[in-house]
C-alpha cells in the first residue's frame, strides 16, 4: 500500500471525536432542562479525574486509593486563589492543577520505595490525612462549613454562567482526552506498560523507572486536581465533606468498570458511575451495596470492563477497525532488501566486557565466588555450568539487577559497577530474560518498538498522531524490519499471548536487537525450543556477531553452545573452573568431573 493510500484511509479516531464535538457544541441549546447541562458539567470534570487514574493504574500499574486528596488540593488551591487573591478563574484552575501535581509528585517520590500493597496503603493514608487537614484547618479551608462565594465562570453574564462553564470544562476535557489517547497509542503508554509488567524489565530497555513512576503519579494527581478545581467553580462552594474516601472509591469504580488501560474506558466508566449515582439518589438504603456489588462483579466477571464488553461486541459484529499500528510500514519488495535494511541499522561496534573478582552471597551461601572473566569485543561468549552454578546471578550482575558484594564490572573500559540498569542500557547493553519478559497487553510490533530509540520530540510525535495519523513512522519501520529479519513480520499486530513459545522467545530477541546493542546478554535463548528453532537462533546469533555485536549467553544445551560460542567460561558452585575455546573445554577433566561426577574417564 502506498503512503497516499494510507493517508487517505479515514483516521479511526476522527469519527468519534467529530461526533462528540458536534454533540458538545449543540447540547446547551437543546430544549432539555438545565439539570442536564449541570450533569454534563459534572461528567466533564469527573471524567478528567478518572482519565488520570486510568493512566496511573491502568497503564503504569500503580494503585492509588487516595485520589480524593489531590482532588481536594486542586479544589482548595483554585478556590482560595480566586476568592482570596482575586485571580481570574482560568488562572486559578491552572494553579489548583499545579498544586495537585506538586502534591502528587511528592507522594510519587515518597512512594517510589513502595509498591503494590504498600503503595495502596500509603495512598489510602495520605488521602485520609489530607481529608482530615481539610476538615480541621478551618482558617484556610473553612472546614465542613467550607468556602462560599467562590467565583464562577460568568464573564459578566451571570445568566450564561452555566453555559460558559460547560464549554470551558468540556474543552478542557477534549484536550485531556486527546492527550490520554496519544499516551495510550504511543511511546508513553508503551513505557508505562513496561513498567507495570516489571520494573527490572523496563529498566533493561533504558527506561528511567523512578522518573516515569513519579512523573505519571504527578500527572494523575494533576488531572484529579483539575477535576477538583472545576468542581470548586461549578457551584461556588467547597466544603471538606466532599473529599472523603468515598470519592476515591467512586473514581476507582469508574476507572475499573469502564475498563482499565483502555482509551474509552474512563468515558464509559464515568457515564456508568454518574448514572448509578443519579439512580440511587432516592434509594439511600442500598447505595453501598450497589457500589460493592458492581466492583466485585466487574473484577470477577468482566475484568476488561465496559470497554472490553464493547470491544467484543464490535468484533462479533465485524465492526472493529484496524488499529493504526499495522498499516504504514513500507514493505520492501524482497526479503533480501529487507534483511539488508535491518542489518544496516543493527550493526554496531561491539564492546569488551571485563568482570573482575565478582562475588555475591545470599544469607551465607556464596552464589558467586571471585569470578573474573574477560569477554573480548565482537565475540560470542558462553557461560555454562551445572544448575545452581551462579550463571544467572552473574548475568543479573552484569545487567545491573544485583549489586555484587565485591568486584568490578567494566564495559568497554568504563567501570559500570555502580550504574543502574537503565544507565547500562543506554551504554549499549541489552538483555533477554530467563522467564521471558514481554508486555502482554500490547502488540508484537509494539513490543519491539519498546527497544527502539526515540527519534523525534514528543511534540512532533503528537502532531503526527493528531493530524497525519502516523505515529512514530520511522520507529515502526525499523521494528518491522527487525521482525521480518526474524521471520515474525506477519505476526506484527498480534498479541504476544497468541504466539507459540518459540515465537515469543524470538520476539524478546527482536526487542533486544531493536535496542541496537553493543553487547547482548542472552539468558537461556533456546530453552524450550525444538532442534530446528534452535538452529535458527544459532544462525541469528552468528549473524549478529558478524554485525559486530558482542554476545554473552547462558545455556544448557551443549550442542548449541559448542556450535555458536567462540569462548566458554565454565562455572561450578559459584567458581570459575575453566575457560577456553569449545574444543579445549570439551577435553577439560575438571569440567567433565563437574558435569558428570568423578569416576568417568574419557
Amino acid at each position: 500500500m502506498s503512503d497516499n493510500a494510507l493517508n487517505a484511509k479515514r483516521d479511526p479516531k476522527r469519527l468519534p471525536y467529530l461526533l462528540g464535538i458536534i454533540c458538545f457544541i449543540v447540547m446547551p441549546w437543546l430544549p432539555l432542562n438545565g439539570f442536564y447541562v449541570f450533569l454534563a458539567q459534572t461528567f466533564f470534570y469527573t471524567l478528567i479525574a478518572v482519565i488520570g487514574l486510568n493512566l496511573l493504574l491502568g497503564l503504569s500499574g500503580q494503585m492509588s486509593l487516595g485520589q480524593a486528596g489531590f482532588y481536594a488540593l486542586g479544589a482548595y488551591g483554585s478556590a482560595l486563589t480566586a476568592l482570596k487573591l482575586g485571580w481570574p478563574v482560568p488562572l486559578a484552575i491552572a494553579f489548583g492543577t499545579f498544586l495537585a501535581a506538586l502534591g502528587g509528585g511528592l507522594v510519587g517520590v515518597f512512594a517510589l520505595r513502595t509498591r503494590g500493597l504498600y503503595l495502596a496503603m500509603t495512598t489510602l493514608a495520605v488521602g485520609y490525612v489530607l481529608d482530615i487537614l481539610a476538615q480541621r484547618w478551618i482558617g484556610l479551608t473553612g472546614g465542613a462549613m467550607g468556602l462560599s462565594g467562590v467565583p464562577q465562570l460568568e464573564f459578566g453574564l451571570p445568566k450564561l454562567g452555566p453555559v460558559f462553564f460547560f464549554y470551558f470544562a468540556g474543552t478542557a476535557l477534549i484536550v485531556i482526552q486527546l492527550l490520554s489517547d496519544f499516551i495510550h497509542d504511543g511511546r508513553f503508554g508503551r513505557n508505562l506498560r513496561a513498567i507495570r509488567e516489571s520494573e527490572v524489565f523496563a529498566a533493561s530497555v533504558g527506561i528511567q523507572v523512578s522518573r516515569w513512576k513519579a512523573g505519571i503519579f504527578a500527572f494523575a494527581a494533576a488531572l484529579a486536581g483539575m477535576g477538583g478545581a472545576f468542581f470548586a467553580h461549578q457551584s461556588g462552594f467547597v466544603g471538606s465533606d466532599a473529599f472523603t474516601v468515598r470519592l476515591s472509591i467512586a473514581l476507582l469504580i469508574a476507572a475499573v468498570v469502564g475498563g482499565l488501560g483502555t482509551k474509552s474506558g474512563p468515558l464509559l466508566g464515568t457515564l456508568i458511575l454518574l448514572g448509578i449515582v443519579e439512580v440511587i439518589a432516592g434509594i439511600d438504603k442500598y447505595g453501598l451495596f450497589i457500589y460493592g456489588l458492581i466492583l466485585v462483579t466487574v473484577l470477577l466477571a468482566f475484568p476488561k470492563g465496559a470497554a472490553g464488553i464493547l470491544d467484543s461486541l464490535t468484533t462479533k459484529l465485524g465492526l472493529s477497525r484496524k488499529k493504526i499500528t499495522l498499516l504504514d510500514a513500507t514493505i520492501p519488495s524482497s526479503k533480501e532488501q529487507l534483511s539488508e535494511l535491518a542489518l544496516r541499522r543493527i550493526a554496531n561496534e561491539g564492546t569488551s566486557l571485563c568482570l573482575q573478582g565478582l562475588s555475591k552471597s545470599y544469607s551465607g551461601l556464596k552464589a558467586v565466588d571471585e569470578v573474573s572473566i574477560d569477554i573480548k569485543p565482537n565475540t560470542v561468549h558462553g557461560l555454562i555450568g551445572p544448575n545452581g552454578a551462579g550463571k544467572s546471578t552473574i548475568i543479573n550482575m552484569i545487567a545491573g539487577v544485583y549489586l555484587p558484594d565485591t568486584g568490578t564490572i567494566t564495559l568497554g573500559g568504563q567501570n559500570i559497577s555502580s550504574l543502574g540498569v537503565a544507565e547500562r542500557a543506554h551504554l549499549g547493553l541489552a538483555r533477554t530474560f530467563q522467564n521471558l519478559q514481554l508486555i502482554e497487553a500490547v502488540s508484537v510490533l509494539d513490543n519491539v518498538m519498546l527497544g527502539v530509540k526515540h527519534q523525534q520530540s514528543y511534540t512532533k510525535d503528537f502532531f503526527d498522531w493528531l493530524f497525519k495519523n502516523s505515529l512514530e513512522k520511522n520507529e515502526r519501520q525499523e521494528s518491522m524490519n527487525i521482525l521480518n529479519f526474524l521471520g515474525l513480520g506477519h505476526l506484527a499486530d498480534r498479541l504476544p499471548g497468541e504466539l507459540p513459545y518459540g515465537h515469543r522467545k524470538l520476539l524478546e530477541l527482536a526487542r533486544a536487537i531493536a535496542q541496537r546493542p553493543r553487547i547482548l546478554l542472552l539468558d537461556e535463548p533456546i530453552a524450550g525450543m525444538n532442534a530446528q528453532e534452535a538452529k535458527e537462533i544459532a544462525q541469528v546469533i552468528l549473524k549478529l556477531r558478524q554485525l559486530g555485536i558482542t554476545i554473552v549467553l547462558v545455556e544448557h544445551n551443549m550442542e548449541f553452545v559448542m556450535s555458536v560460542c567462540d569462548e566458554l567460561s565454565v562455572l561450578n558452585f559459584g567458581r570459575l573452573i575453566a575457560h577456553g575455546t569449545p574444543g579445549e573445554i570439551q577435553q577439560n577433566p575438571t569440567v567433565i568431573e563437574a558435569y558428570l561426577g568423578t569416576g568417568v574417564k574419557k
Binding site: F231, G239, D241, R246, A281
Partner: protein
C-alpha cells in the same frame, strides 16, 4: 336540531370536565426534601429523625383533607456538599419542585442556599443549626431561606446563662470540626462576658473512639460542669466510671437523642442538660410522641428533631395548600406570613416575619434535662 343541542351540551360538559381535571392536575405541588440519610451515624440520626417528622406531617395533612395534592420527593445527600448541590439543581430544574426542605450539615445548607436564593425557590432548612443560615440571606428581598430547627447560638446562650449562675468551675470538650470550633469560640466569649473563665478546654477529633485522655484532664482541672460539643455525643460519658468523676454534662440538643440514653445508660445520663425546643409534657407533644411510636416503632429515637421536622412539614404543607398551585414565589410569601400553626415543638403560631426567618427564636429555646429516662424541661 335536538341532536346538535345534545352534542354541544355534551361537548361543553366534556370540556369543563377536562378543564377541571387539568386544574386538578396542575394543582399538584412537588415538595423536595434533601436530608443526610447515609454516612456518619451522627448525621444519619438527625436526617432520619427529621424526615420521620416530615412524613408524619404529610400523612396528617392528607388525613385532614388537604385540597392541594402534594408530592414529596426525598433525596439523600450523603453528607456531601457536592451531592447536595447536584440534588438541589435536580429538584429545581428537573423535578420542578416548588419548595425544598433540608438538610443536616450546615455546610450543605450553605452550599445550596445561594442556588435556591438565585432560583427563587424557598427553602425551609433543617435540622442544620449553624447560626448564619438565615441571616446570610435575610437582607435580600425576597429572602428565600427559612429555618425550622435549633439555632446554635440560642442554645449556647441559654446554657451559659444557666451554667454561669450555678457552677464555679466549668470545662469544655469540643470537636475539631467547624461545628465544634465555632461552639468553642462562642462559649469562650460568652463565658468571659459573664465573668467566668473555663478551667479547661479540651478538643478531640470527630471520629475518635475514646475520650479518656481529655476527660482525665478535665477531672484534674476539677471541672464541675463539662460542656459537651462533640458530635459523638455519648463519648465523654464512657470513661467517667473508671475515672471516678461525675461532673454535670451539658451540651447541645444532640444529648437528647434516645440513642445516647441507650448507649450510656439511664444512670449515667441522669441530670444531663441540653438545649431543647420540645416540652414533652405538653398535650400536643404527648400525642405526637404516641403517633410517632406507633408509626415508626424502634426507629423513632429523637423526639425533638422529629418534632421540628413535623413542624417544618406543617408549615410548608399549609402554605402550599393556601397557594394551591406550583408557584414558588407565592408559596414563599405564604410561608413568611403563615399563621395558626399548631406546632409540636416550641415553634409559635406565627413563626416568621419579613425580618425573622427562624422557627425558633431566642425565647423559644429552653433547656431540657434527663430525668428518669425522659427529657423534661429544666426549671
Amino acid at each position: 336540531m335536538k341532536k346538535t343541542y345534545q352534542q354541544s351540551m355534551f361537548k361543553m360538559a366534556f370540556t369543563s370536565a377536562l378543564i377541571a381535571c387539568a386544574f386538578n392536575v396542575s394543582a399538584q405541588v412537588k415538595v423536595g426534601v434533601i436530608e443526610g440519610l447515609s454516612g456518619p451515624p451522627a448525621i444519619v440520626d438527625f436526617g432520619e429523625s427529621y424526615l420521620q417528622g416530615i412524613k408524619l406531617a404529610l400523612k396528617d395533612y392528607q388525613a385532614a383533607g388537604g385540597k392541594t395534592k402534594i408530592e414529596l420527593t426525598v433525596y439523600d445527600d450523603e453528607a456531601n456538599p457536592q451531592r447536595a448541590v447536584s440534588l438541589a439543581q435536580r429538584l429545581i430544574q428537573n423535578d420542578k419542585a416548588s419548595v425544598i426542605i433540608g438538610t443536616v450539615s450546615s455546610g450543605n445548607v450553605l452550599a445550596i442556599g445561594p442556588i435556591l436564593q438565585k432560583a427563587g425557590i424557598p427553602l425551609v432548612a433543617g435540622p442544620a443549626i449553624a447560626t448564619n443560615i438565615t441571616t446570610q440571606f435575610i437582607e435580600e428581598k425576597p429572602s428565600q431561606i427559612f429555618r425550622c430547627s435549633m439555632v446554635e447560638k440560642f442554645q449556647i446562650d441559654q446554657m451559659l446563662d444557666w451554667g454561669a449562675k450555678n457552677f464555679k468551675r466549668i470545662g469544655l470538650i469540643h470537636s475539631t470540626t467547624g461545628y465544634g470550633n465555632f461552639a468553642a469560640k462562642e462559649i469562650e466569649a460568652g463565658l468571659k462576658a459573664r465573668g467566668v473563665e473555663l478551667v479547661a478546654m479540651e478538643a478531640a477529633a470527630p471520629n475518635v473512639t475514646d475520650l479518656t485522655p481529655q476527660m482525665v484532664k478535665l477531672r484534674d482541672a476539677k471541672a464541675e460542669l463539662v460542656l459537651n460539643f462533640h458530635e459523638s455525643f455519648e463519648l465523654p460519658f464512657r470513661p467517667l466510671p473508671r475515672l471516678n468523676y461525675k461532673p454535670v454534662i451539658a451540651g447541645n440538643w444532640g444529648l437528647s437523642s434516645e440513642k445516647v440514653l441507650e448507649i450510656v445508660g439511664k444512670d449515667a445520663i441522669e441530670g444531663t442538660v441540653m438545649g431543647q425546643a420540645l416540652d414533652i409534657n405538653t398535650p400536643r407533644a404527648q400525642a405526637f410522641n404516641e403517633k410517632m411510636k406507633k408509626e415508626y416503632g424502634k426507629d423513632y429515637r429523637w423526639p425533638v428533631v422529629a418534632a421540628l421536622g413535623y413542624d417544618a412539614g406543617l408549615i410548608v404543607f399549609k402554605a402550599v395548600d393556601q397557594v394551591g398551585k406550583p408557584d414558588p414565589a407565592a408559596i414563599r410569601n405564604a410561608i413568611e406570613n403563615i399563621d395558626g400553626i399548631q406546632a409540636v415543638s416550641a415553634t409559635p403560631a406565627k413563626p416568621f416575619s419579613a425580618t425573622d426567618h427562624e422557627c425558633l427564636d431566642k425565647e423559644h429555646v429552653f433547656l431540657g434535662v434527663w430525668k428518669n429516662g425522659v427529657v423534661t424541661r429544666l426549671n
